[in-house]
Amino acid sequence: MPFDKKRLDRVFNPKTVVVVGDKKAGNYSWLRSMQTVKGKLYSVQVSEDEIPGIQEMGVTNYTSLLDVPGPIDYVLLSVPRKVAPMVLADCVKAKVGGVSLFTSGFAETDDEGRALQKQIAAMAVDAGMPLIGPNCMGLFNPKAGVRHSVDQYHGESGPVAFLGQSGTHTIFFCTTLEAIHGIKLAKSVSFGNAAVMDVADYIEYFSQDPEVKVIGAYIEGVKEGRRLFEVLREVAPKIPVLIWKGGQTDSGARAASTHTGSLAGSQAIWDTVIRQTGAIPVNSLDEAVDTTAALLSLGPLRGVGGALMCMTGGQSVVISDTFAKEELQVPALTQASYDDLGSFFNVIGGFYRNPLDISWNSGSGQILTRILKILDGDDNVDFVALELFVSMVARRIKSGHNGDSSFFDAITDHARNAKKPFFTMLTPTSAEAEAIELRKTMTEAGVLAFPTFQRAAVAYRKALAYWQQAAQR
């Protein structure tokens, strides 16, 4: 369905939100999620058992949608499936901006559900009303305070949009991207069965948002494949689009059909669509958040050659292997760099051929700065990656390493001034709690910090492939 951008803008930025059918049994989770809405929040609930709890939360309840003072911009419906057409008819009558239908039991369930889905889709199309779902968590816009879940932030927004056929993946993408990389979302949508609005509609809509620099998508199936192909072909060269396809195997496809009633389709064809349009394939939540961070933080990438600075000799071997397996390279440095490094680098218990084992040279910020500068200026090097042993680095940052915070300063200074893409990679080993803290410290200081070097290599490779393709278009 061709969507109406202005109307969707209204739904994403509501001045009045109504939750229909929220329940004590669900701990009134919808009303609690929406209490951050900038504007008015109302409830519609007919059950006498549920109403007192709603009123206790300070939310005004009505027994009919038609009684709510309008105009209503966004309605979240959480009513039994049999009642859904009736309440949807009220939404049409009240001329609400748009509706998210949380209720499940439609095309993913049985013949009755399929018939009901057809019925509600036809109602929405006839009325020209955006219908999100059914079987979904609806919209998220932190600036407007519209949320899928109480676990999400509100107020500040970021440069990323996400669309997902799963509420879980949509919410976790949001919270994980923020937790791991300190990056917030501009908007997201969980759209379940996609009875009316489909993947291509949301991608097209997000691509027209000037705030959005990266779009992520979790897809189980698509109804209008041609349209998705055309939209991706148009959008992907301008804005990176990550596609995480669920239902890649027979088992996964079976699950997708019972989850969102989706026809998962052939994985070979999906791979082709992603490759041909210049979208970016990702296969997990981790890959999705890391690749998003690499795209946003590192800027356009130019090459495969990395200078790898590792904390021990053993690590330098396996990190090199890991990067090489991702089709990245660890090139020899120029003679000028070797001459320069040779003049001060302590080679007893370390080496600098690339990969570098900097263990005994990483004690002072001055030396680290010198090494980073040489690598940054080396013509054979496209990017610089620094491994951080969590236990060692965390201790150093905490204690200021004999009263010297220069190690940390050297990293943050370099991240600010480097000419070439620079990132850090944590090796947490057993210091998991400290790793979380260190990642946060790095992220807040503007340094991209991947949770592990394996994740760094995958994210860099995927981001690089995007930029290389975009450069050819």
Partner: protein, 233 residues
């Protein structure tokens, strides 16, 4: 227009599979390189056509009911003279009637024996969600056993054509391996783009196979062709 006439005829006869001769006429009209195949309804006509085309020739059973011609003994290669053509005709008819007694047999197709080149295949299938998809691969065991094929959604642009050819693992064979003559990759890409454009403008095509296509130093030519139409309604 060959395409419209052929489709109309097939519809009238209630079939969706076009014969090799029909498929090749259509493709030739669309500007693709195919080895000419002519219909011969009986033995004498087969011999006369062979003489006209020049030896050696290939004879293939021509029936909309027989999809896998070589499986039923319906293909005879390298026929050098009139008597060989006559004998091949009899053998093909006997074999076809034995394997598929109910088949509606139009006769045989007679075509010049193409000089061997590097075998590649081009195919079109329809994905329920994304529509026509073009497949490219190297012929023989590389496609059958190793499934070394690449896909692109139709329509392809120039860049897609360049990439689909280079995406298969066997690509170095096209560049000429161990003294073998290289194939003309540019001509192959052109052929792929022509096929994509043809299929894009004919949604009535459900499946299409050019197998094999011979890729030479100076061009490419499809030796066999198969087209299946969408059912009516």
């Amino acid at each position: 227009m060959v395409m419209q006439e052929t489709v109309a005829l097939a519809r009238k006869e209630g079939r969706t599979l076009l014969t090799e001769v029909e498929a090749k006429h259509i493709l030739k009209e669309a500007g693709l390189n195919v080895v000419d195949s002519r219909l011969a309804k009986d033995k004498a006509e087969a011999q006369a056509t062979a003489k006209e085309l020049g030896y050696p020739v290939v004879l293939k059973i021509l029936s909309p009911d027989i999809v896998h011609k070589s499986d039923v003994g319906g293909v005879k290669l390298g026929l050098q003279d009139e008597s060989a053509v006559g004998a091949a005709y009899d053998e093909i008819m006997a074999a076809a009637k034995k394997a598929s007694p109910e088949a509606n047999i139009h006769g045989v197709s007679v075509q010049t024996m193409a000089k061997p080149g590097l075998e590649v295949i081009l195919g079109i299938t329809k994905d329920p969600q994304f529509g026509p998809v073009l497949m490219f691969g190297l012929g023989g065991i590389l496609v059958e056993v190793l499934k070394d094929v690449a896909f692109r959604i139709v329509p392809l642009n120039k860049r897609d054509a360049g990439q689909i050819v280079r995406e298969i693992k066997g690509y170095p064979l096209l560049e000429g391996y161990r003294g073998q003559e290289p194939a003309n990759v540019e001509k192959l890409e052109e052929e792929i783009l022509k096929l994509s454009a043809f299929v894009e403008s004919h949604p009535e095509i459900k499946e299409l196979d050019l197998n094999p296509v011979f890729a030479y130093k100076d061009g490419v030519t499809a030796v066999d062709a198969r087209i299946v139409l969408e059912g009516e309604g």
